[in-house]
Amino acid sequence: MMYSEKVMDHFSNPRNVGEIEDADGVGQVGNAKCGDIMKMYLKIEDGIIVDAKFKTFGCGAAVATSSMATELIKGKTIKEAEQITNKAVMEALDGLPPAKVHCSVLAEEAIAAALKDYRERHGLVEDSRYEGCAGCCGGCGAHDHGHDLENEED
């Protein structure tokens, strides 16, 4: 497999797996048809993300990016969390194979979706950066999902 050691570490020992019962924001992106779903739970106090947990259905990269994303946003302010891009998640994992770049996009979108939910629940109406991505990877055209780079056959 072409995964970095960091990816394998976060896949085999994922951080922050689970649910937060009284979460302040919950976001789910992706769909089962494509083979990736990420659900992110946030606990937010005074504008700071004090806890983050996730559940993911997906490949090794999907699990690892979820795990890394929760690690990156814990302790951050909402503003700081919003600025975490898929590139940051990838870099923190020492890179991803081209075919798996979309997993990091999904992680970024899961954060955005959970923050959007938080704002809606708390009446903090702002222009959200994302409407949330519920579609199939590669469908929205907003990101380089990297799928055109692959051309492998078993």
């Binding site: 789910q28 089962a32 494509c34 993911t56 798996k100 990877c137």
Partner: protein, 394 residues
């Protein structure tokens, strides 16, 4: 950490048996001569090739060794059979029939021909992966020149009613080719009994060397050549013969044919042990493919709420090597075309696992596999939002 290697991916490839390697070695070194040369070390190799051809002919029940053509792979044999037929018979018609679950060696070749103006009909399969011969009968048109349906599927192991399909083709006077790459060495093959016109085999699926294959072309069947150059293979397939490969291919097929009953029983019993263990100990599992009409060493199951690549990675950490039809392992956005063709929803197809057992596997390894799967599927489900929804009844 984990040094144990348990190989359950024999449908992908097999190791070369020591007896096979031993038979091959002299042809790399002292018997290196070109089989086309007139001097003795060349002539010896000509004899080695013709002996191999006789052995192969006998192993698959061909009437005459001259019906056997050695190729560089099963894929080449498939390409030759299909493109060769298309080129030779295009004046008669441009219609070709195949199935939706063929190997890419057949599907991609048909797609290529489609771009050249040929018309392809894809026969659907039922939810166990079976082609109905009546569907082939109905699909045949006056301009049909070829039917190509695989003997056994590489992913789900389903064995097709090849003899019945061959009878349908014969009735209509249409050529019939079968890709027997997965079948060879696992179930009996007799080309005369089956009544096929062409049959492809690959060496590395039955403990022979990679880079070797064979196309059986029944005497009297005309197809165009694909590889032009020298006069090798009776002017049908150019290129200096891979003598060690041909010798190894024939030796492996000979051994596989001799040991077929014991091989079948051994793999069948390992498969059934794994199947029983998995179904008894893991809920929400489904078997993909036919329960009985399947290759002895093939087990393909889907675990609901989890994704295949994650299963493979976790199995690999335990030293277990297997395969999946998930999109993430196929290199495309869609899961396996075979699993979709048997009607699996995408999310179930993503959670598929293919195990293909081999001669050196043991019951202890199978038990270790089942124990490992119990742990892995549980771990992945606890991480899965789909499973969470299921448990909460969403």
């Amino acid at each position: 950490m984990q040094e144990r290697v348990i190989y359950f991916d024999h449908a992908a490839t097999t190791y070369v048996k020591p007896e096979v390697l031993e038979a091959m070695i002299p042809y790399f070194t002292q018997n290196f001569g070109n089989a086309s040369s007139i001097y003795s070390i060349g002539r010896q190799n000509r004899n080695a090739i013709e002996d191999a051809r006789s052995t192969v002919a006998k192993s698959i029940g061909a009437q005459n060794p001259s019906e056997i053509y050695f190729t560089g792979s099963g894929t080449e044999a498939d390409n030759w059979a299909i493109k060769g037929t298309a080129l030779y018979h295009q004046k008669k018609g441009k219609h070709i029939i195949t199935s939706t679950i063929e190997h890419p060696a057949v599907l991609a070749t048909c797609e290529f021909l489609q771009k050249q103006g040929f018309v392809i009909t894809y026969i659907p399969v039922d939810n166990e992966g079976l082609v109905n011969p009546d569907d082939v009968d109905k699909a045949i048109r006056p301009d049909t020149i070829l039917v190509t349906i695989m003997m056994a599927n590489n992913e789900i192991g389903t064995i097709q009613p090849i003899k019945e399909i061959a009878q349908v083709c014969k009735k209509h006077g249409v050529l019939f080719h079968t890709d027997a790459v997965q079948a060879a060495g696992n179930i009996p093959i007799n080309v005369q009994d089956l009544g096929v016109d062409m049959l492809s085999v690959s060496g590395h699926k039955f403990y022979g060397p990679k880079g070797t294959g064979m196309l059986y072309i029944r005497k009297g069947v005309r197809i165009e050549n694909l590889i032009h150059g020298g006069h090798q293979e009776r002017n049908r397939r150019a290129g200096t013969e891979n003598v060690p490969g041909i010798v190894g291919f024939a030796k492996a097929l000979e051994l596989a044919t001799l040991n077929l009953d014991a091989h079948y029983q051994k793999l069948y019993s390992l498969r059934e042990r794994a199947l029983k263990g998995i179904f008894e100990r893991i809920p929400h599992v489904r078997l993909n493919g036919h329960r009985e009409k399947r290759l002895p060493g093939n087990l393909n199951v889907s675990f609901e709420f989890v994704e295949g690549e994650s299963i493979l990675l976790m199995l690999d950490m335990k030293g277990i090597k297997a395969s999946s039809g998930s999109a993430c392992t196929s290199g495309s956005l869609d899961p396996s075309h075979v699993l979709l063709a048997i009607g699996l929803p995408h999310e179930i197809a993503h959670g598929s696992l293919r195990l293909s057992f081999g001669e050196q596997n043991t019951e202890e390894e199978v038990d270790y596999l089942v124990d490992s799967l119990v742990e892995i599927i549980d771990k992945l489900r606890r991480m899965s939002p789909l499973y969470e929804d299921y448990v909460k009844g969403v």
